[in-house]
């Protein structure tokens, strides 16, 4: 499913040096910045799906929310469709063009609202209809699009299964006919057969509506299936970014390699031949991240130079970015 992209085309989303710090109280009067996202830059082209992977707590979700300015970024710039997002009016315009699908289909739907009110809420907020009939028609069209029965419109969210709830969430995200959707682990709360249905629906919707996705997940196989390019994050920093096939077959960063070696192989022969790279220790607390490269405490190839400075996120091959001091030696 690889698509052809014009390299000179302007990217739909351009994130430059995005930083998101949260102040955490460590003492009665002292607070310390928690660097949830620290200096992350990337672009997403129109119609593309960028997968974002990494372990729990590495800042994937925060990246998604900061791009949408649900958190005001501490520093850095986000450019959407060639327009820098700065003022409140910019953010308000952004809300119409960029939306989000949430991870938990149970807590992301208001238990006191009917399905049609949930899906119609973005329409109500932006007053995107002239009369009740138009609103109704639009909601039914959206429900049909995500495979929901029109009889479900007057029901409440708790009457649905997890997969159906996630469809409601997707219909809500589509209500304003957005260009860009941040999918924040949209399938990780669903069981495998439903995951496949929802993933296929994402692909179909992309083809029909020309959507662009930032697809956040921790399941490499899901991301590999849907993404054109994949970005890997570790402890608030982006460590590797490349085409999906390249990341999967020739990972360069030691962290990505260990991640890929953990992917289950259906063929036992290949599985036996592959050596599993097991990382020791736990992910360090982002409150006191190690100096230099954040991964050096667990990296099997760490050298003295890794402790001194943060490696630059540089392009080693066409479209393949890595942040590692020793990338050429490995």
């Amino acid at each position: 499913m690889s698509k052809i992209f014009d390299a000179n085309e302007q990217p739909l989303v351009d994130v430059r040096h995005l930083k998101q710090y949260f102040n955490i109280n460590v003492g009665p009067l002292r607070s310390k910045p928690l660097k949830a996202v620290d200096d992350v830059s990337f672009t997403i082209r129109k119609g593309e799906t960028l997968g974002l992977v990494g372990e729990s707590g590495c800042g994937k979700t925060t990246v998604g929310r900061s791009i949408l300015h649900l958190y005001q970024p501490t520093d850095g710039e986000v450019e959407f469709a060639g327009k820098l997002i700065r003022s409140k009016a910019d953010i308000h315009e952004l809300r119409k063009k960029a939306t989000m699908v949430f991870q938990d289909p149970y807590s992301s739907l208001n238990p006191r609202m009917t399905v049609s009110d949930i899906i119609g809420e973005p329409l109500d907020i932006h007053k995107m209809y002239r009369n009740k009939a138009e609103r109704e028609e639009r909601i039914l069209e959206l429900m049909e699009r995500v495979g929901l029965n029109s009889e479900h419109a007057s029901r409440y969210a708790h009457e649905f299964s997890g997969g159906q709830r996630q469809r409601i969430g997707i219909a809500r995200a589509l209500a304003l006919r957005p260009d860009f959707i941040v999918c924040d682990e949209p399938v990780s709360a669903l069981d495998v057969s439903i995951q496949a249905q929802v993933i296929n629906m994402f692909v179909e919707l992309q083809e029909q509506m020309g959507l662009t996705y930032l697809f956040i997940a921790h399941d490499i196989l899901v991301v590999r299936h849907i993404s054109d390019r994949i970005a890997v994050m570790y402890l608030g920093k982006m460590v590797e970014l490349a085409d999906a096939a390249v990341i999967y077959d020739q990972p360069l960063h030691p962290y990505t390699r260990s991640l890929m070696s953990a992917v289950p192989q259906p063929d036992p022969k290949i599985a036996r031949a592959n050596r599993r790279i097991v990382l020791s220790g736990d992910i360090p607390s982002p409150l006191n991240a190690p100096s230099g490269c954040p991964f050096r405490t667990r990296c099997p190839h760490a050298a003295p130079c890794c402790a001194e400075s943060m490696p630059e996120f540089k392009e080693v091959a066409s479209g393949h970015f890595v942040a590692c001091h020793r990338v050429n030696e490995l």
């Binding site: 949408l68 649900l70 809300r95 939306t99 949430f102 973005p122």
Partner: protein, 351 residues
């Protein structure tokens, strides 16, 4: 036909389902709202249902009875213009009649009985109790509405904004909370009685009476704090829900989120605490009236009736017992009804 234990299924014994049969198999459960579920549970609770019926009977009778009762609450039966006061009407025992009335009965005219007798000024006591109930219920109901509106507004703003706004509002709440409220109620009621009286003259509010208005102000100023604390706590936990974030991602602003997402989700807590607020307001009104700070004479309230009855306690004990029983009945059944509401609507207690 012989029965065999076999894994083979005889395909011929299966028939394709007709459309009717298919339609029969598709069972759509009727959609049930939160409110309907709660009402169902409430009606299963016998104590709460009985309390609700008692409240309804008391409320309806206090509204309807004065319309057709031949006596009125301020009509002194022994006083007629141009005639000396007929003392035989004062302090009648239940079902006794004044002198002129006895003469009328003697002539064969039907006279409506004084069920509870009359008071020291010759006013029909039954209608005064009914009016007193009406006043007490109205004060309790409107005071709770005032408390609800102020508490809900302040609490939801504090809870939603958080941070410094929350800190500031909650310190004011703590301040009011720490004041001895009995003392404050009495002080405020006394001061307002003095200042409001002249200001209200010749306005439409004068009919209601400065005392009742000062009562409402007292409730509005003092009793919203616990309601606002309650709602703030609810909203603090609700605003972290993902559907709030989803609404913000769709471009919603603070007011929209509070109205559409936060308040509907704490409505059960609001209903329950308002239902429990009414009896406490009635009780406060009663003791203020008992102390002479309540409604203006000749308007009766249950508290002022009890207070008046103290003077003739040894001769007419039933005049104290009747309003006391009515107050107890209202407060008890409202409290039990409130408890029933909480059991029916509070999701945390739901199994």
């Amino acid at each position: 036909m012989d029965k065999k234990f076999t894994m083979h299924i005889d395909v011929d014994s299966f028939l394709p389902a007709t459309d009717e049969e298919k339609a029969y198999m598709v069972q759509m459960r009727p959609s049930s709202t939160f409110f309907r579920d709660g009402m169902k549970r409430l009606l299963k609770n016998k104590v709460a249902t009985v309390s609700m019926i008692i409240i309804l009977i008391i409320t309806l009778s206090s509204l309807i009875i004065p319309a057709f009762w031949p006596y009125s609450y301020d009509n002194m039966l022994g006083v007629k213009p141009g005639v000396p006061v007929d003392a035989s009407y004062s302090n009648l025992a239940p079902f006794e009649y004044g002198e002129t009335e006895q003469a009328m009965i003697h002539d064969g005219v039907k006279v409506f009985p004084h069920i509870f007798g009359t008071d020291a000024s010759g006013r029909d006591y039954f209608i005064r109790v009914v009016y007193g109930t009406r006043i007490s219920l109205a004060v309790g109901f409107f005071a709770s509405i005032i408390v609800l509106i102020i508490g809900m507004t302040v609490g939801s703003i504090a809870g939603y904004c958080g941070g410094k706004v929350d800190l500031f509002i909650m310190r004011i709440v703590d301040l009011i909370y720490s004041l001895p409220d009995m003392l404050m109620v009495i002080l405020l009621a006394t001061v307002l009685k003095q200042t409001l009286g002249p200001a209200l003259e010749h306005t439409s509010l004068a009919k209601i009476g400065s005392n009742i208005i000062s009562l409402f102000i007292v409730f509005g100023v003092l009793y919203w704090v616990s309601m606002s604390r309650l709602i703030r706590g609810q909203i603090l936990s609700l605003r972290e829900q993902e559907y709030v974030l989803a609404s913000r991602a769709a471009g919603a602003k603070g007011g929209w989120i509070i109205r559409k997402h936060l308040l509907p989700n704490c409505i059960s807590v609001v209903i329950i605490s308002t239902a429990l607020q009414i009896p406490s307001a009635i009780f406060t009104e009663s003791y203020l009236s008992f102390l002479g700070l309540g409604v203006n004479a000749p308007m009766p309230s249950l508290g002022s009736l009890a207070s008046d009855a103290l003077n003739g306690l040894s001769s007419y004990p039933y005049r104290l017992v009747i309003p006391a029983v009515v107050i107890s009945l209202i407060v008890l059944s409202l409290n039990l009804f409130g408890d029933g509401l909480r059991d029916a609507f509070d999701p945390k207690l739901r199994t």
